[in-house]
């Protein structure tokens, strides 16, 4: 890659004939542009070659691109050699390490499927550290043994240290080669992440070993002292942990910087590359593991960067990164080929070459099998024999080894030429032979491939359900393992890091889901009209917001979808895939589900490729679920306590509710001018979400598209509730309330406008207060107070309010029959009741229910409400006033 110094290609400057000698019209200025021109030229050649390769599907489906590139490099190198009689272009180590390697590593770190990575971190680290150590020492020692046995040529002047040095550079699995080959093979994700993660993380080991042995060789084995060995061990920790720390530091800086780039959107992507590159250089500067630095920088910054930068910048970052990585990789492989032509550096020794090939294959296999045997004791899904075969066989060596061997000092390491030749052979063998055969091998062994089929709706749903179930069982069993710590980390991240590193508006990102949704709706409508309206009616799927099959063929929307789309796409280089229409349609559904399904604990950090993750997700989710669960539990208490089964029908309830709504709405137009019949679901949502940031609410109401009849607010007047406390005496009738699906009838019973006020009461079990973890208690309080504020009148009419709207902002959603119950939020009196219940250590066998309505408390509560959300407030007041009258 180094610009040629000789005049061979560089034509001597010459003036065009006939030009005036004094002031030439044109001047040939090759020298000035020579270096960049050659760089651009090589990249162009390599890229063009890629196009040519892809022309033939047949070839590329069999031969990995890396092989083709190496072969091309060989060919080009041969041509250059033939023309110039000397090898001109080389893969220069400095070029390789400073410019070609960083983009690839950054790309792999940034797009690393982090959940997979961290789930398998134990295995990855084992293979990367112990495996690499084992490979280095075993290979080096074995080669030394061969030498001692006299099988090697006399010319190979190398002692034990030289062989160990060689072993250290030849034994590390190469990330570039692994990536290039494996992403075409599509093996299953776990296997991929283990091999690939190993190839990234073993850099620290390789660097340390290489440096230590190199210094040993240079010092001469005789001068090596015991402290030097200790230093070597210590330097391993320094290099690896230091590298990772540098990466984390720069990731932090990067995230912090992107937080403030709102007004300079156009250079946002630049920061990502600059900071990551700075991390690489900084680590290199202090001779830490630069690969580790960039990898960790990429992994860690992504979440925050993605949240901070604009969508266009995200796309830019993504494509630029892919482009850079891809072209680096191309150039690397091509230059590997070209470099191999240069026979002046070759010194062939058959025993050395064959021995090395044999040993690296053998020891890798042995190492993998031994380590897997140990690891399988700790893994839920053991790696089976076939996995081990693929892992052993997938240990490709690549350009890193080559660059390292070129870096050797020929004066000190006298067998350098032999080592270079052997390395080239090993790299070629692994990339060409193993790269070519691994695909058939994987097929033949029937290794589980990663199936890239989009999960069906059922799978998506059930998968989530399974995760929830597992999380619940884990809680029941009381196991605090890896997930527990991840949970802790999530909390820390949520509380501090995200607050610090994400801009406020990033919390709103999830609304993009709805942007997409709306766009799809519009698109849908257009195509619906275009096709005479028969598309939707023709299919049984009358999904109002689903695109019909013909509607989603355009790219813009699907691109958006894909951006936010599926979890772990392991092909780090792959950006686009072609999908059928049917798939696209499904994608929309999944998108909605993905975006809104509650995430099981273990999925919180599921994948970094989801762009819509917002830091508040978990918090909000917890609140929502908590509220709903509490609602149901309360409901069960009530229904079992009262054991009332009146025969009122659901329809009746609905009718009542709707009538009520109508009237209340008739009193004043609804804020968004909806027809009075409905309080739309989104509005309900907004009330529930009131704990969240305010702009979210307004957004959700703006984006709302459809009305929904099913949901009705039911407000209850104060005095009616107050009546209820006399019912508290009857509570102990039922010793252990059964959890039965609450019947609509019991709810009916409690509707405020019904005559019987006797049973009305809001109870909260002391259990409920006890089970609530502290932060949930605050969440609960928050939500209560937000409901209060919703329920409270705008300051203008406090008197009226105090009378009409009592504590529990009554609210109800008729979603499904089971939930068709009248729920009352426990009011803030919960607060007052908590200390008591928490203070009493002993529990009676029956769960105690405490009436929540204490008359003195209810006044305080209504005043404590803040006028935060006037829109919903109006609504509630209407209803409340109506019911009062």
């Amino acid at each position: 890659m180094q610009p040629p110094t000789g005049p061979a290609l560089a034509s001597a400057p010459e003036s065009p004939p006939g030009a005036a000698p004094g002031s030439p019209l044109l001047r040939w200025q090759w020298r000035e542009v020579q270096a960049p021109c050659l760089v651009a030229g090589w990249i162009l050649v390599a890229s063009l070659a890629k196009i040519v390769f892809q022309l033939s599907k047949k070839v590329t489906s069999v031969v990995p691109e890396s092989c083709l590139l190496i072969l091309l490099g060989l060919g080009l190198g041969g041509i250059v050699l033939a023309i110039t009689k000397r090898a001109e272009y080389q893969l220069e180590p400095s070029m390789f390490f400073l410019f070609l390697l960083p983009p690839i590593v950054l790309d792999s770190g940034y797009f690393m499927p982090s959940r997979l990575f961290f789930d398998n971190l134990g295995a990855i680290l084992t293979y990367a550290v112990i495996g690499t150590l084992w490979n280095s020492f075993a290979t080096g020692a074995a080669l030394w043994g061969v030498k001692q046995a006299g099988l090697m040529d006399e010319g190979v002047e190398a002692g034990l240290m030289d062989f160990l040095l060689f072993g250290s550079l030849i034994s590390a699995v190469d990330p570039v080669a692994v990536l290039a080959v494996f992403e075409e093979v599509h093996i299953n994700e776990t296997l991929f992440i283990i091999v690939f993660g190993e190839s990234l993380l073993n850099d620290a080991v390789t660097v340390v070993l290489y440096k230590v042995f190199n210094s040993f060789v240079e010092m001469g084995p005789a001068h090596v002292q015991a402290t030097d060995y200790l230093k070597g061990v210590a330097s391993f920790f320094v290099v690896s942990l230091g590298g990772a720390a540098v990466g984390l530091l720069f990731a932090f800086l990067l995230a912090l910087i992107t937080r403030f780039t709102k007004r300079v959107r156009i250079i946002e992507p630049l920061f990502v590359f600059l900071l990551a590159y700075m991390a690489y250089l900084a680590a290199e500067m202090v001779s830490l593991s630069s690969i580790l630095a960039v990898t960790f920088c990429g992994i860690c910054c992504k979440k925050y960067v993605e949240a901070n930068i604009s969508r266009k910048s995200r796309t830019t970052v993504k494509y630029t990164m892919k482009t850079l990585a891809s072209s680096s990789e191309t150039v690397i492989f091509m230059f590997l080929g070209i470099s191999a032509v240069d026979t002046s550096k070759w010194a062939w020794d058959t025993a050395l070459v064959l021995g090395t090939l044999l040993f690296i294959l053998l020891f890798r296999a042995v190492g993998v099998i031994l380590q897997t045997w140990v690891l399988n004791h700790f893994r839920l899904t053991p790696l089976d024999r076939i996995d081990q075969v693929v892992m052993s066989y997938g240990g490709l060596r690549g350009a890193v080894a080559f660059a390292l061997v070129i870096l050797l000092d020929g004066a000190k390491v006298r067998a350098k030429d032999y080592f270079v030749a052997t390395t080239i052979v090993v790299v070629f063998f692994t990339v060409l032979v193993q790269g070519l055969t691994i695909k058939p091998l994987v097929k033949w062994l029937k290794v589980k491939r990663s199936d890239h089929h989009k999960p069906t709706l059922n799978e998506e749903l059930h998968e989530h359900a399974f995760d929830h179930i597992l999380a619940a069982v884990e809680d029941v069993v009381g196991h605090h393992g890896y997930r527990y710590w991840r949970d802790k980390w999530e909390q820390f991240d949520k509380r501090y890091l995200s607050q610090l590193l994400m801009r406020k508006s990033a919390y709103r990102l999830k609304d993009e889901i709805w942007d997409v949704y709306c766009k799809l709706n519009i698109r849908d409508a257009i195509s619906f009209v275009d096709q005479g309206g028969h598309v939707l009616s023709a299919s049984r799927l009358t999904l109002p917001s689903m695109p019909s099959r013909s509607s989603m063929s355009e790219s813009s929307v699907t691109n958006l979808l894909r951006e936010s789309g599926s979890g772990a796409c392991l092909d780090l280089q792959v950006i686009d895939t072609v999908r059928s229409r049917r798939d696209k349609e499904d994608a929309v559904m999944h998108h909605v589900l993905r975006g809104s399904l509650y995430k099981p604990r273990r999925r919180y950090k599921a994948s970094y490729s989801r762009h819509f993750i917002s830091p508040s997700t978990q918090e909000r989710q917890d609140k929502e679920i908590f509220q709903q669960n509490m609602k149901r539990r309360l409901e069960t208490f009530k229904s079992t306590k009262h054991n009332v089964c009146s025969a009122k029908s659901k329809a009746r309830l609905k009718k009542d509710g709707r009538k009520k709504q109508k009237k209340s709405a008739a009193n004043a137009e609804l804020p968004n001018g909806k027809p009075p019949r409905s309080v739309t679901w989104q509005q309900t949502a907004a009330v529930l979400v009131a704990v969240d940031s305010d702009d979210e609410e307004s957004d959700s109401s703006e984006t709302e598209k459809e009305d929904d009849e099913g949901i009705i607010f039911i407000a209850r007047a104060t005095d009616e509730i107050l009546q209820g406390k006399k019912a508290s005496g009857s509570l102990d009738v039922c010793p252990s309330p059964r959890i039965i699906p609450p019947s609509p009838t019991s709810a009916e019973k409690e509707l405020p406008w019904k005559g019987d006020r006797g049973d009305l009461a809001v109870y909260i079990s002391s259990e409920t207060t006890k089970i609530v973890p502290v932060d949930m208690q605050t969440a609960w309080k928050q939500s209560i107070s937000s409901l209060e504020s919703v329920a409270s009148p705008p300051g203008a009419e406090p008197g009226l309010h105090a009378k009409t709207l009592a504590g529990p902002a009554p609210e109800e959603r008729h979603v499904v029959p089971e939930q068709r119950t009248c729920f009352q939020f426990p009011n803030p009196l919960l607060r007052s009741s908590r200390p008591q219940s928490a203070g009493s250590p002993e529990r009676t066998e029956q769960p105690e229910l405490q009436p929540l309505m204490a008359p003195d408390e209810h006044g305080r509560m209504s005043t404590s409400a803040g006028p935060s959300n006037s829109r919903w407030l109006i609504q509630f007041n209407r209803a409340a006033r109506f019911s009062d009258g």
């Binding site: 839920l380 053991p382 089976d384 089929h453 709706l457 059922n458 799978e459 749903l461 059930h462 998968e463 989530h464 359900a465 399974f466 179930i469 597992l470 999380a471 619940a472 809680d475 029941v476 069993v477 009381g478 999830k510 049984r540 799927l541 999904l543 109002p544 917001s545 689903m546 559904m589 909605v592 975006g595 809104s596 399904l597 509650y598 099981p600 604990r601 989710q621 679920i625 908590f626 709903q628 669960n629 509490m630 539990r633 739309t680 679901w681 309900t684 979400v689 959700s700 709302e704 459809e706 099913g710 059964r738 959890i739 409920t768 089970i771 979603v815 499904v816 029959p817 529990r843 066998e845």
Partner: protein
């Protein structure tokens, strides 16, 4: 958990439990400790309130359904035997033992039983079918409130259509099993710690 572990002999019916569930003795002991920790009043059985006392379950959308799964129809209490029987569903499947066909009834941690357990969480009226309403309920539990009911109904409708093979508008257990065929149930429904 903080309390010292119980002596195996303190556990009633230890041998039968181990035989029935396939748990190792260490695991039974561990679960028994947990059982006793949950059973705060040392009454020898758990009520739903004991389980609801687990804080994390309050934020699990399916938490209450899981709790209910620990109790037989119409019963309020569960003893240790039933408790561990439910947990046995989540024992990982051993390789090699999974394809033994000689035994008349599958072990509780077989794929079939795992699926049945999940299916029951959906099928609340235990009529052997996941009806549209039941699907909607589960979706409502699991989906954030940003999704409108209408969309949810569509999703439920679509989900059922997708899995429904006999066209009865509901998902039977067989259809359920088919629809999740590609998922790695054995892995997804297993806890390593119950190995």
């Amino acid at each position: 958990m903080g309390c010292q572990s119980s002596h195996p002999s303190a556990i009633p019916e230890l041998d039968e439990i181990m035989l029935e569930t396939g748990f190792s003795q260490a695991n039974v002991v561990r679960l028994y400790d947990r059982f006793q920790a949950l059973d705060k009043e040392q009454k020898g059985y758990l009520s739903k309130y004991d389980l609801q006392g687990i804080g994390e379950l309050a934020v699990n959308p399916l938490g209450d359904r899981i709790i209910n799964a620990f109790f037989k129809e119409g019963e309020e209490l569960t003893d240790f035997r039933s408790f561990i029987r439910v947990l046995a569903h989540f024992r990982p499947l051993e390789k090699g033992k999974s394809n033994e066909t000689g035994r008349p009834e599958p072990t509780p941690n077989s794929r079939l039983r795992k699926l049945q357990f999940a299916f029951q969480l959906y099928d609340q009226d235990s009529d052997g079918k996941i009806s549209r309403d039941e699907m909607l309920q589960v979706l409502r539990l699991m989906v954030g409130i940003q999704v409108t009911d209408e969309q949810l109904a569509c999703i439920a409708e679509r989900t059922i259509q997708e899995a429904d093979q006999d066209g009865d508008g509901a998902i039977s257990f067989e259809e359920f099993a088919t629809s999740v065929e590609k998922l790695n149930i054995e892995q997804r429904m297993s806890l390593r710690l119950l190995k």
